[in-house]
């Protein structure tokens, strides 16, 4: 593995991660995405705040990471995927997301703003769901999770194009989508 020049020493990582988590929670709450109304509004296609937050985060992060990658300051960590894992797991997650009205990160944030349904429903339910997953994991690991395996590939590899070109193309699509939402008053 390549060396990450500014990687913090081991002892500093957990306190720093706590600090980053505080910033993240602060931002989620300021963005309104820790509110049940905002998340459900997105899933009912009435309020596009969630999509705007996510797309602008992907835009800024993607451009920033591309620069840092060019300077050899960071390494990528794309997740392994398969149709059985990403699509089936994603759909199960989505069904829960719509019933709960929070996702794991925003549920944690909602607890901080006093939303008790996010704590006693959301956090408790997610702990039960992850515990259940640890029980069924041995059974699905060699079957469902391997259906349609494609691994850790990224879009530039699929398209056989230079990474920076794909970054610019995706950035243009996201910028257009954000402008369109603003133009349509969403």
């Amino acid at each position: 593995m390549e060396k990450i020049p500014f990687l913090l020493p081991e002892a500093a990582r957990k306190p720093f991660a706590l600090f980053l988590g505080i910033l993240f929670g602060f931002l989620l709450q300021k963005g309104g995405v820790t509110r049940y109304e905002v998340i459900i509004g997105q899933l009912l296609l009435l309020d596009f705040t969630v999509l705007k937050v996510m797309l602008s985060a992907v835009l800024a992060g993607m451009l920033g990471i591309q620069v840092l990658l060019h300077l050899n300051l960071v390494a990528l960590h794309p997740k392994h995927g398969s149709v059985g894992s990403s699509v089936i797991g994603g759909l199960i997650f989505g069904l829960g997301f719509g019933l709960l009205g929070y996702c794991p990160g925003t549920a944690a944030g909602a607890v901080g703003q006093g939303s008790l349904d996010a704590l006693f429903g959301g956090v408790c339910g997610m702990l039960l769901g992850t515990a259940f997953y640890s029980g069924i994991y041995p059974r699905i690991e060699a079957t469902v999770l391997r259906w349609g395996t494609f691994g850790e590939i990224t879009l530039p590899e699929v398209l056989h194009a230079a990474r920076w070109k794909v970054v610019i193309a995706v950035a243009a699509v996201i910028a257009t989508a954000l402008s369109a939402m603003s133009f349509l008053g969403l």
Partner: protein, 173 residues
């Protein structure tokens, strides 16, 4: 500094700052931001307390040991940060049932908690099944242009839109 205490910031400003936070995380921790693994580790810690060391034999906990790691600390920070934001902007309120829910399904706490518990169960299960959630796949994975993350994010919203529309049209009859 008044802006610091506003109840809401523009969505694109918040998203852009989250994107910069990702850059800092990659630069200083060599990790993408994620949330759902911390839930799996926590349920492992609880199971270990209840069932003892047999828990550690489970294949899943050999992959994701039930210990406090950097991401667990990150997720611990989220409610603290949200608390600071909510209190300083005057939007902190203890609430059992969100107002939108009350307007449609009534003020009953049991119905809301049962639905949230079922939703949380599926969200926790699905996040681990897909190997990430709205932050790990939706933001961190998408910005790395990972195919797994773009597919999972599309599935998150497809499932979410389906269940929210079904739930709300069910209530409206």
């Amino acid at each position: 500094m008044e802006w610091l205490f506003l109840p809401r910031w523009p969505a694109v400003a918040v998203g852009t700052l989250i994107g910069l936070l990702e850059c800092v995380t990659f630069l200083l921790l060599d990790k993408p931001i994620g949330c759902s693994t911390a839930f799996a580790r926590t349920s492992g810690m609880i199971e270990k307390t209840l069932r003892g060391s047999a828990t550690m034999e489970k294949a899943y906990y050999r992959l994701f040991p039930p210990v406090i790691d950097w991401e667990w600390m990150f997720v611990l920070g989220i409610p603290l940060g949200a608390f600071l934001s909510a209190v300083s902007s005057g939007t902190f309120r203890i609430e059992w049932v969100p107002s939108l829910w009350v307007g449609i399904f009534g003020p009953g706490i049991a119905l809301r908690l049962t639905t949230a518990l079922a939703g949380g169960f599926l969200a926790g299960l699905g996040a681990r099944w897909a190997g990430g959630c709205t932050s790990g796949h939706g933001i961190s994975g998408s910005l790395q242009l990972a195919v797994s993350s773009w597919l999972a994010s599309a599935a998150f919203f497809a499932g979410g839109i389906l269940s929210a529309i079904l739930l709300f049209s069910l209530a409206r009859g």
